[in-house]
């Protein structure tokens, strides 16, 4: 009751029309969707250019390749690249299935050691329409981890290098705590404070963070390097349950050596 008619609604209607136009201008031709896989708690990201229709998917999951291809179609986009931030150990990448369902090319870092149509490396730029994803090499969780940064939108996709109030484990797959710490501090934390960070996973229902928040609040990465290394050495995590299926499949871009249940 107390809130009723705080604003004159006829005036509100006018402001509304103006601000929606303003918003449409601000949003320009950038299309963005975050998607989720509940089984592995993986986030997939669709980024597109509404004019050229070119789109990219970051970290697709095999079980959702059809969902993702359908969304690309629903939004009248053409999938140009299906990209991974690294060779995942907890799920099978959707890039192989997406190559069957669309005309996309698969992309992963050269340092990952995985097959793909295109291998990227530090300072490369992936273009879709007028938009540009800049590649930062951020190894530590694995040797091939990269962060994709889209400066115009103030967004970065950090894979498992930096998670929300956490980071990827460093106890398998060439994990190296010192490298992870130095790359997060040297590269991700050097982005503008307001940069929105989108990780490959979250396990608590959080979906994004910012450079500012993680610099202030990350319980591991706000520590000194030596304290960080000690924390990472004492996590005592279980053996990753999907790793023996995921790595052989992901080495081949999710296309070959698929476990029986994924073969189509």
């Amino acid at each position: 009751m107390a809130l009723r008619h705080v604003v004159n609604l006829s005036l509100f209607g006018v402001a509304f029309a103006q601000s929606v136009r303003g918003h449409a201008t601000m949003a320009s031709n950038f299309v963005f969707r975050q998607l989720f896989d509940t089984k592995s708690s993986t986030y997939t990201y669709l980024l597109g250019d509404a004019e050229s229709k070119d789109a990219v998917l970051i970290d697709p999951v095999i079980e959702h390749a059809k969902r993702d291809a359908q969304l690309v179609k629903d939004l009248n986009l053409n999938l140009k690249f299906a990209i991974n931030t690294h060779m995942h150990a907890d799920h099978i990448t959707g890039t192989g299935e997406l190559k069957k369902l669309t005309n996309c090319k698969s992309v992963i870092s050269k340092a990952s050691g995985a097959k793909a149509d295109i291998h990227i490396d530090e300072s490369d730029v992936i273009e879709f329409g007028t938009h540009k994803l800049r590649v930062f090499s951020t190894p530590g969780h694995t040797n091939g981890c990269v962060t994709y940064y889209i400066p115009e939108q103030g967004m970065a996709f950090t894979g498992d290098a930096l998670l929300i109030r956490g980071c990827g484990r460093t106890d398998f797959q060439e994990g190296n705590s010192t490298n992870l710490y130095e790359n997060v501090h040297g590269k991700i934390f050097s982005l503008p404070d307001e940069t929105i960070l989108y990780p490959a996973h979250d396990y608590k229902g959080m979906m994004s963070t910012t450079v500012d928040e993680e610099k202030r609040l990350n319980p591991r990465l706000t520590k000194s390097l030596s304290e960080f290394v000690e924390i990472m050495e004492n996590l005592n995590l279980a053996y990753p349950k999907m790793i023996d299926k995921a790595l052989p499949a992901n080495k081949a871009c999710g296309l070959y050596d698929l476990p029986e249940e994924y073969q189509t």
Copy 2:
């Protein structure tokens, strides 16, 4: 390899600084976070004003009240209102717990029949800082369902009235298929096509949609009224497993009559 150095990186650095500044201006003082509860597949939304620090939470879930209050604190916000889109049947609202953890007031529609500090109705406006949420009454899933619309951002929070490629069930809690159809068409679909719609739930890992997409692609609501009513009458859904715990608790804003496991 093919992508390497498509853009001259020294020039890119300059463009980057400019566009990040541009983005900071565009984003203005609006803070936004989507949050998820995996158990009930419920989305919670935090909206804030970075200058006045006033914030609102839409559809908080009791199990995540501490997470949500911590995020409010991490972002240096003050929670003014904890709001529900309707009296939920699948989870217990977090509004009661949030009233204990913060100084917020609880808000729900008058038509819901639930207790709250503030009852809202059609055309009310909820203010936080310079931002305004406009209330649309959109009954059909329940009598008290509302949609919260923030015109300046081109966003609407549709609760269970409209889901992504779906809608809330209409077979319990005063459900009425004709009302739901007419309110979605008359109110939500009358918003600008580019309006981003954030539902109370999704079960397939999708997080948002737009008016345009649902007008084109919603498998139920693109049908005629009579076809829609027939579809809704033949869903044969299971009895909601949480309803007998959730409704009594939610009638009291999640504060009283809590099942034993939630009592603090």
